[in-house]
Structures are given as structure tokens and as C-alpha cells.
Symmetry: C2
Subunit: 412 residues, 2 copies
């Protein structure tokens, strides 16, 4: 007997037939003797429609009312799935955030979970009832509905798994696991059986959009074993038998690869601030205004000083580029730069693996492999378990394929 939280995303509950298929899948876990709680997203498309209505009525709408409106999508799915489960003989009931309660802070539209009252649900699960929890939502200190931000149902599921002391949190999605890289670019990409939380975090944040970053952080903090599974397999197996990817503590991964995966992101833009005086406080003069404007800066390099001046190069999200240019232009006097160079046609390629901690030469292999393909590296940044480089966007696929082969990740 295991206690399992099963989470189903919007495409998995997109219509009544899929909701019935989800119910059948939940029933198999129950019949196998497991205690099951389910977390559901809104039917796909519903949340977008609700968001659009709010935006059309007022671009600067009250986030509390926005939450009231958009949280209904998950409420509908939770009720419908409970009905579908009852129809096939599984005792079930829906739970809204305010009923559990799943308490959050008051940051409407992007609330953080502060606590989940799990005792009542645990008792009901022990008596064979399946709680069907509306994902993405909670109740704030103002006793109003809050939502957790886009993709928040993953976070709901992981937090619920922690509160219920579940053995596993199965995230059913439209991909069947986490791959060494994007299979659309590298057909020989390999599905990972296991991946460490920290690797998953790096992969998620650099572009492999399988799990919401916050849900992975939470899983790591609470020690929740998360499994990524496809909801579109033949549907005959149990979650424990399905060939998904387990996201676990790195200690659990016995045969540690040095590199687990290659990620890429094309949503970057590069800015070079030319000829700034090389004096203390110059970085603050540049990045302070950008931060105040809410622009997130990623990779930063500063050239060696020549004649008392230097160049500062950094990357930001591409959609922030026009605002960043305006912001820097407005502060040209204080910064004292000669020229701004911008390049939106760049890509960030990252090599990720907890094994790097104990192995040298990972970065050297990366640089050699890219050089062998004639790919120029514009910026480099490293962390304990990641090496990232910025290259011209046109070379993205070539770089990913070269690195995938170089680190021995190709399926043989």
C-alpha cells in the first residue's frame, strides 16, 4: 500500500472523455490498494478564456477578483472528476482550497502556500475516499480565493503530497518524462529514469518546461518524490509500473552520470554597455535601474579594463529588451557609457549534472566540442552543477546535438 498524490494537467482533463480516462486511471491505483488524492487543473483553454475576460474588462484588474474568476476553472474539473469517479464506483469528493483549507499568503495572482490542513483528508483516504482537490488555488488571510500563478497546480500537488506524507507525487502531463534534451532537436535523446531535484531545477529554469520551478523547489525542500508521467500512454498500468522519470534526492541516484542533460533557451537577448568608467559602483549604476524596472539580468561578464574604461555584457529576457534600452538610455549620464550594443539573436546552451561537483573537465569538453563545430562562445557562466554559454541563435540545434554526443548521452 502506498499513499499517492496524482496530478492531472489541463490537456489530461480537456473534455469529458479524458476526464473518464483519468477516473479509470485513478480507480486502478485504488483497486491496487493504494490511498489516492488527486489534484486537477482546469480543462485546457478555460483558464486562458477567463484571464482574457478579466484583461478585456480592465488591463489593471484587481488581482483578488481575477483570482475569484480564474479559480473556477479548477473548481469545475474537481466536481466533474468526482462525479466520474463515483460513476465507476470509486468514493470521491471535491475539495476547494478554502475547504481544506490550503492557506496562502495574500499575494493574489501569485500566492505562496503557507500551510495545508491534511488530517481530515488523511482520515478520509484511510476510509477509502479519494479527495479530488482543485489545483492552483488556496485561501488567503483575507478569507478570499487566491491563485498560485501559472502552472500552480504542480505546486499544489507537491505541497499536498508533503502535507499528506505521500510516498509519491505522480504528475501526469503531455510528455512521458524528462529527457536528456529536447527530443525534437535530438531524436536520440534519452528519457531519464531518475533526475536529482537540483538538476531538474536547472533544466526547468533553462527551458525544459516539464514541471513548474516552484514545485521542484518545494519537492526538494520537503523531500517529496515526484514522478513525471504521460497521461496519454495506453493507460493500462499503475503509476509505479509506468516508465516515467522520478525526481528525487541525488543520494538516491546510484549510477551518477556526470552530465544529465543539455538545455537551451532562445528567449534571451544580449546587451553590451561600451566604454564605461572602470570604477567602484559601476555595476550598481547599471544593474540598479534595471532591477528597479523589474528586469531580470542573467549572465554577466565584465571585460578587462583598458585605459580606465571597460565593457559590460549581460543577458536579459528578450521581451524585456525595449524596456531595458529605454531604462539604460535614461541613466546614460550617471553610468557614463559611450554606446549600447544589443543582440536579440542569441541562445543560451546549458550542460547540467550534479556529477560535475566531483568531476573536472566538464566545461573543457563543452568548449572543445563547440569549437570543433566552429561555434563562437559569447558569454560563459557557471554554477556548481551547470555550465552555460551564450551563442548565436542560429547555432542552437547544432550546439545541442554536438554536446549531447560529446557527453555520451545519445541512445545507442
Amino acid at each position: 500500500m502506498s499513499r499517492i498524490v496524482m496530478k492531472f494537467g489541463g490537456t489530461s482533463v480537456a473534455n469529458l472523455d479524458r476526464i473518464r480516462a483519468v477516473a479509470a486511471r485513478v480507480k486502478r491505483e485504488v483497486v491496487a490498494g493504494n490511498q489516492v488524492a488527486v489534484v486537477v487543473s482546469a480543462m485546457s483553454g478555460v483558464t486562458n478564456q477567463l484571464v482574457k475576460w478579466c484583461q478585456e474588462l480592465s488591463p489593471l484588474h484587481d488581482a483578488r477578483e481575477y483570482d475569484t474568476v480564474v479559480a473556477t476553472g479548477e473548481q469545475v474539473t474537481s466536481g466533474l472528476l468526482a462525479i466520474a469517479l463515483q460513476e465507476i464506483g470509486v468514493e470521491a469528493r471535491s475539495w476547494q482550497g478554502w475547504q481544506i483549507p490550503l492557506s496562502t499568503d495574500d499575494a493574489h495572482g501569485r500566492a505562496r502556500i503557507e500551510g495545508i490542513e491534511g488530517a481530515e483528508l488523511i482520515g478520509r483516504m484511510a476510509r477509502g475516499q479519494v479527495p479530488v482537490v482543485a489545483g492552483f488555488q488556496g485561501i488567503g488571510p483575507d478569507r478570499r480565493v487566491t491563485t498560485l500563478g501559472r502552472g500552480g497546480s504542480d505546486t499544489s500537488a507537491v505541497a499536498l503530497a508533503a502535507a499528506l506524507k505521500a510516498d509519491r507525487c505522480d504528475i501526469y502531463t503531455d510528455v512521458d518524462g524528462v529527457y536528456t534534451t529536447d527530443p525534437r532537436i535530438v531524436p536520440r535523446a534519452r528519457k531519464l529514469q531518475k533526475i536529482a531535484y537540483e538538476e531538474m531545477l536547472e533544466l526547468a529554469s533553462v527551458g525544459a518546461k516539464v514541471l513548474q520551478t516552484r514545485s521542484v523547489e518545494l519537492a526538494m525542500k520537503a523531500g517529496v518524490r515526484v514522478q513525471v508521467l504521460s497521461s496519454f500512454d495506453d493507460g493500462s498500468g499503475l503509476g509505479s509500473d509506468l516508465p516515467g522519470t522520478m525526481v528525487v534526492d541525488e543520494d538516491e541516484i546510484v549510477e551518477q552520470e556526470i552530465v544529465s542533460g543539455i538545455a537551451y533557451s532562445r528567449d534571451e537577448a544580449k546587451i553590451t554597455v561600451r566604454h564605461v568608467p572602470d570604477r567602484p559602483g559601476i555595476a550598481a549604476a547599471i544593474f540598479g535601474p534595471l532591477s528597479a524596472a523589474g528586469i531580470n539580468v542573467d549572465m554577466i561578464v565584465q571585460n578587462i579594463s583598458a585605459d580606465g574604461s571597460t565593457d559590460m555584457t549581460f543577458t536579459i529576457g528578450r521581451t524585456d529588451l525595449p524596456r531595458a534600452q529605454l531604462t539604460l538610455a535614461a541613466h546614460q549620464g550617471e553610468i557614463g557609457y559611450a554606446e549600447l550594443l544589443t543582440d536579440p539573436d542569441v541562445a543560451k546552451i546549458s550542460v547540467v549534472g550534479v556529477g560535475m561537483r566531483s568531476h573536472t573537465g566538464v566545461a573543457a569538453t563543452m568548449f572543445t566540442s563547440l569549437a570543433a563545430k566552429g561555434i563562437n562562445i559569447q558569454v560563459i557562466s557557471t554554477s556548481e552543477i551547470k555550465v552555460s554559454v551564450l551563442i548565436a541563435a542560429d547555432y542552437t540545434e547544432l550546439a545541442v546535438r554536438a554536446l549531447h554526443t560529446a557527453y555520451g548521452l545519445d541512445v545507442v
Copy 2:
């Protein structure tokens, strides 16, 4: 300064443009110095879709889950209207049944309101905030969402008006008031300025579908002044200036007409049970089984006895006819009748007016007028403020027009 509850039905909030129009209408009341609370239905079509999903998943679905699903329609509208109000500078917030709380019994799908906590809302209204309440729903003793049954938003509005001690409950709908009869049949039908609760009840239950019957009963009991208004007039006036119909206590109606309106219903069927023994208990033998089968019997007449046997004639809802025939056939032995005659092609015509209490001759005028047009009366039933007759359905329009003229109701 008045305290007003404004209720808007599904067609009045069917899309964003109409929601904006509703917001503008609410703003005018606020600007005029009134304290306003709003009750909204779901956008038209939404509730039907949600109901359909529940039914398709399970014909015998759990009413608690059904309530969870269908109550979302009003939740969406309440949030959207609050946003629309804020956008035009009116302070507003949405309220769900569980937040107020609006407490009901546990009869999910058709719950009855047991209490509304009004103090918080009254305080906010006094400070200029407009509560936008999701109609049709409350919270049950099980702390789950309940719904009040179809048309329940009218009842929500009247109950809220009572709890808030409102001066008036304005029900905005797709008709502009209560008429002396159906204007599609009688173009010279007259809109009533005022109508007594009891008259409205008789008119509502015999086919003039303007207000839900329960809301009128509640208004009468709680003494809430209800006004029926069109949400599709030019929209420039205040509720107090609009030419709607006020539903009030009969004492308020100074110039009492003897007859206020003529109603009709074509949803009737007639059954005659021929040659039943004229003995004590025969009525119970006939109507007991029908009642047990959930079939509502309306008009009943028993012929004079001849040779120790009699005929019993009564009307039921037309859709119940097949079940009524089966039920009576199954009990033929106990009842001991010779023959069942049925006629689905009948109509009930009713003359309604509180003035009848103090005037004689109302029924006589009815019978004379119908006779003059050659219309045969099949069954007669009377109450304190109503005379109803059953006639052949083909004569419906003719009868309504004749009576409308006979009682002096035509617009001159």
C-alpha cells in the same frame, strides 16, 4: 438615500459589453447617493453547459458535486462585474455564498436559505463599497457549496434585500414589468404599476414567468418591495424612475382593481376516471397513488352521484400524463373504475385579483364572457383571489382576449 439590491439575470450579463452596461447602471445608483448591493446570475448559457456535463458523466450524479460545478457560473460573473465596476471608479468586491455566509439547508441542488449574515455587507455599503454577490448559491451545514435550484438568483436577491433591510429589490430582466396578460396574445395588455404579492404568486404559478415563485413568497413573508425592470431600456435612468412594476403588499395599492390580470397555461392535461363507486375514501384511492408517484394534481371536480357511482375529473401537468395513466391502471382494482378518459389538449385560464375578496360577480362575468364566445368550460376552480377554468386549448387566445376586455383591462 435608499438602500437597494439590484439583481441581473443571465441575459443581462451575457457578455462583456452587457456586464459593462450593468456596471454603468449600478454606478448611476451609487452616484445618486444610494447604497447598492448587486446579485448576479451566470452568463446565459453557462449554467446549461455545466449541467449538461454533470448529466453526461452520470445521470444520477452526486448533487453536492453538481452544486460545486454549477455554482462557478455565478462566481465568474461576480468577479467580472466587480472588475467592471472598479474600472469605472466604483469601489466593489465579489462575494460568494460561503464568504458572506449565506447559509442554507443541506438539500443540495434545491437548497433553502436559512440565514444571511448581513452586518459586514451593511458596514461596507455604508462606506461606499458595492458588494457583488454570486446569486443562486450558499453554503450548507456540511460546509459545501449549495445551489437554490433553477431561477434561484431571484430568491438570493430577495433574501439579501431582507437581510440588508433594503428599501427595494430591483430585479432587472428581459421583460420590462408585469402585464395584465401576455402582450403577445393581447397587444393592448397594460403594464401594471403595482401588483400585490399574492396576485404575483398566482400569476407566476399559472404561467406568467417573470419572477421565481419562491422569491415572491419570500418577499411577501419578509415584506421586501420587489421591482421588476427591463435591463434593455435606454439605460439612462435610475431604478426609482424606471417604469417597471412594483410587487408590494396589497395595502400599498390604493386604487385596487378588481381583476389585475389574466393568466393562461397550456401545460395541462385532463383525466376523467369514469364510474367509480361513490363511497368514502374513493378520492384517497385515486389521488394517493398519484401523490406517491410524485404527480401534482391541480383542479379537481367530482360529478354528482348517479346509481351509486360518480366520475372524477382532474388536471395534471401534461408531461406527467403517461406516468399518471400507468399509475392509475396499476390501481384499477382498488379504485374500481370503468374507464379512463384523457385529454392533453386543454388550457387553464385564470382571472386574478385581490379585489375579488370584496367584490362579487367576478366569476359570473367570466362565465358570461366565455359563453358569449361559444367557449365551453370543462372544469372550474376558485380561490380567494383567483377563478380558473379549463377549456379546449384551441380557444386559449380567444378566451384571454375576451376576458381582458370584459374586465376593462385593455389599454384605451
